[in-house]
């Protein structure tokens, strides 16, 4: 059928309208979620006529507001959010290229700066790295910030958490095979008694001692023994004390911990610091146990981590993360 220029059929209008709304949807999606879909932005927005862009602005009240002087204006907050999303790929690459010691030192410094909502990162780094890795991070911290990590944590953190956090970042745990005398059962009983007594656990010096000085091998045994004598999991019983709960999870069941963190981070409306965890966890675990985390994630949530990332992340950022996860194959 030859279409003479100037003649438009009704079907074409409908197709065109659909194509337009598809494109609008694609654009909106390209700007939403984790990272941005650079390809779509280039393909759709890049070549678009002024009319198309106007339609995009008018069709997206969450991005653009009608200004009193008759133009559609970018929402300031949305620009700020976009800045973050555009940076996600950059941040991931920079973090990935870094020496692990520098990486961990910077992560801890940032967590301290961001305040109590980010202190879980301190616990994460202190508890999921090996003794030598944590030591390396402490050295790097000296070089980068001319302070020791423990002095900064001690002077910035207040309240009962301080003792726990300082002790965790200062630990140099024994990592050898189980020594002959192993009092895991006794330690489990001690903790159970404190929990039963109802006293504030972060203040209890025995709980602190056990969690901040004992070896990870022993703590895993304590976790198991606790389950046997109490019938419940230690981290569940510590629910009222999120720092202690995170500590136990990171020390005893790290894959579960990381899966939970990732699940929260992959929510569309996750807040700034929760979202950051996606980059942090994938980058810091890619060389360690990302495969095990992927399996645990699947067990816990019935969907592969890679699929979840595929669905929620965009563009180069998404590709980069998936590559990091796959590289172990």
């Amino acid at each position: 059928m030859i279409i003479k220029p100037g003649t438009r059929k009704r079907g074409d209008d409908r197709d065109e309208a659909m194509a337009q709304s598809d494109e609008l949807e694609a654009l909106t999606k390209a700007f939403s979620g984790h990272g941005v879909d650079e390809t779509t932005l280039i393909a759709v927005l890049g070549k678009s006529h002024p009319e198309k862009r106007k339609a995009f602005r008018k069709g997206n009240p969450q991005f653009f507001k009608e200004d009193e002087r008759s133009f559609e204006r970018w929402d300031d907050h949305r620009i700020k959010l976009l800045k973050r999303e555009f940076s996600r790929f950059k941040n991931a690459v920079v973090l990935w290229a870094m020496h692990p010691w520098e990486r961990d030192a910077r992560l801890m410094k940032e967590a301290l700066k961001d305040g109590p909502d980010s202190y879980n990162v301190l616990i994460e780094v202190a508890c999921t790295r090996s003794s030598e890795e944590l030591l390396g991070a402490r050295r790097a911290y000296h070089s980068l910030f001319e302070h020791s990590i423990e002095e900064d944590v001690a002077s910035h953190v207040h309240g009962p958490e301080r003792r726990l956090l300082v002790a965790l970042v200062s630990a140099y745990r024994y990592e050898g095979t189980k020594p002959k005398e192993d009092n895991a059962k006794a330690e489990a009983k001690t903790i159970l008694n404190v929990i039963k007594s109802g006293e504030k656990k972060t203040d209890n010096e025995e709980v602190i001692r056990i969690l901040t000085t004992r070896s990870k091998l022993l703590l895993k045994a304590v976790y198991k023994d606790y389950q046997e004598i109490s019938g419940s999991n230690l981290d569940e019983d510590l629910k009222s004390d999120s720092r202690l709960q995170e500590t136990v999870q990171c020390l005893c069941t790290p894959e579960r911990y990381f899966s939970q963190v990732l699940d929260l981070a992959l929510e569309i409306d996750a807040d700034k610091s929760t979202k950051k965890a996606l980059t942090r966890v994938i980058v810091t675990r890619a060389d360690v146990d990302v495969k095990e985390i992927d399996e645990e994630f699947n067990k816990m949530y019935g969907v592969r981590l890679t699929k979840k990332i595929e669905d929620t992340a965009n563009g180069n950022y998404k590709d980069f993360l998936l590559r990091l996860i796959a590289k172990g194959d």
């Binding site: 000296h142 020791s148 002077s155 200062s170």
Partner: protein
């Protein structure tokens, strides 16, 4: 400076042979042992141990343990270990006592450099299959535990930079804490267990300027409890190690007839470091040389060994 007199050139195999000869037959030739080991530094002693192992398929340390006795044996045993391993043993012995010997823990954690302390922690794990902080925590409670675990876990920043404003505010904090008799020691412990040594000295000096007297003097009370004593020891050790050691030596020598652990420990651990300066400081304080005081207070092979480490010419 070291007080130890050790030659630049030596032969590990000759030394090993001499030691073996000293240990064979009836009795032991302690003089020969002192002559060799008392004139070798840590690196040399390590080589001698290796040579001895290769030549005689036996651990020199074990051999000496079986041949020697009492104070002399203790001193030689400590002397022959690698410095980090030695400190690990000293820490463990101190903790296992029925009344744990806190000053030893404080000494090791405050007077060694941060990197030396790390080596001690590694050596401790190797030898005892537990971490140092694990054992310190298990043998202490309350504020003492807070202080000692904090001290042994620290990896202090090693720069010389000082923040004068911080020194001022932390000197004030310490002053307030001390003034308030019912004080929780948490802030003082925080400062002492985390700040760099340079920063701490600036803080101590600031305190001295502001209050006209030192912190340790203001912490002096009748019948102080453990934590106060420990805090004073900590501040002493961080502020002026030489003066601290002189005090330990003076007390050790005054205490007639008790075990010579303190005397042995200071001489053995500082002979290769700064025992010369400590000797000078000792003389300033006591108007008698450390060599003389040791000679008067000790006897036999033990005395001869200590004097050798002190650099005494026979």
């Amino acid at each position: 400076m070291a007080s130890l007199v050790a030659p630049d050139h030596f032969s590990p195999t000759e030394d090993a042979a001499a030691l073996q000869k000293a240990c064979t037959g009836l009795g032991t030739n302690e003089k020969a042992i002192i002559e060799v080991l008392g004139h070798r530094n840590a690196a040399q002693r390590k080589q001698i141990r290796q040579a001895y192992e290769q030549l005689y398929e036996e651990d020199l340390v074990k051999r000496l343990e079986s041949e020697l006795t009492r104070d002399f044996e203790k001193a030689v045993y400590r002397w022959i270990l690698d410095p980090a391993d030695r400190d690990a043993v000293l820490a463990n012995v101190a903790l296992k006592k029925s009344n744990p010997d806190y000053p030893v823990i404080i000494e090791i954690s405050c007077i060694r450099t941060p990197d030396e302390l790390l080596e001690v922690r590694k050596a401790y794990q190797l030898r005892y299959k537990r971490s140092l902080e694990e054992d310190v925590a298990a043998h202490t409670t309350g504020d003492i535990r807070k202080l000692l675990v904090g001290l042994v876990s620290a990896y202090r920043y090693q720069g010389e930079e000082i923040n004068a404003r911080l020194a001022n505010s932390e000197a004030d904090l310490i002053h307030d804490a001390i003034k308030d008799k019912a004080f929780s020691h948490d802030e003082v412990i925080r400062i002492l267990t985390t700040r760099s040594k340079a920063q701490l000295r600036a803080t101590f000096n600031r305190y001295q300027e502001d209050q006209g007297t030192s912190i340790t003097k203001n912490l002096l009370v009748e019948n102080p409890d453990e934590i106060l004593v420990a805090l004073r020891t900590t501040i002493r050790g961080l502020n002026d190690p030489n003066k601290y050691f002189v005090k330990v030596l003076s007390n050790g020598i005054k205490r007639a007839g008790t075990d010579e652990d303190d005397l042995t420990r200071v001489i053995v651990t500082r002979a290769e470091k700064d025992l010369k300066e400590i000797k000078e400081e000792y003389y300033k304080k006591n108007s008698v040389s450390l060599d003389q005081a040791v000679a008067k207070d000790t006897t036999g092979d033990y005395k001869a060994f200590l004097l050798t480490l002190l650099g005494s010419e026979e």
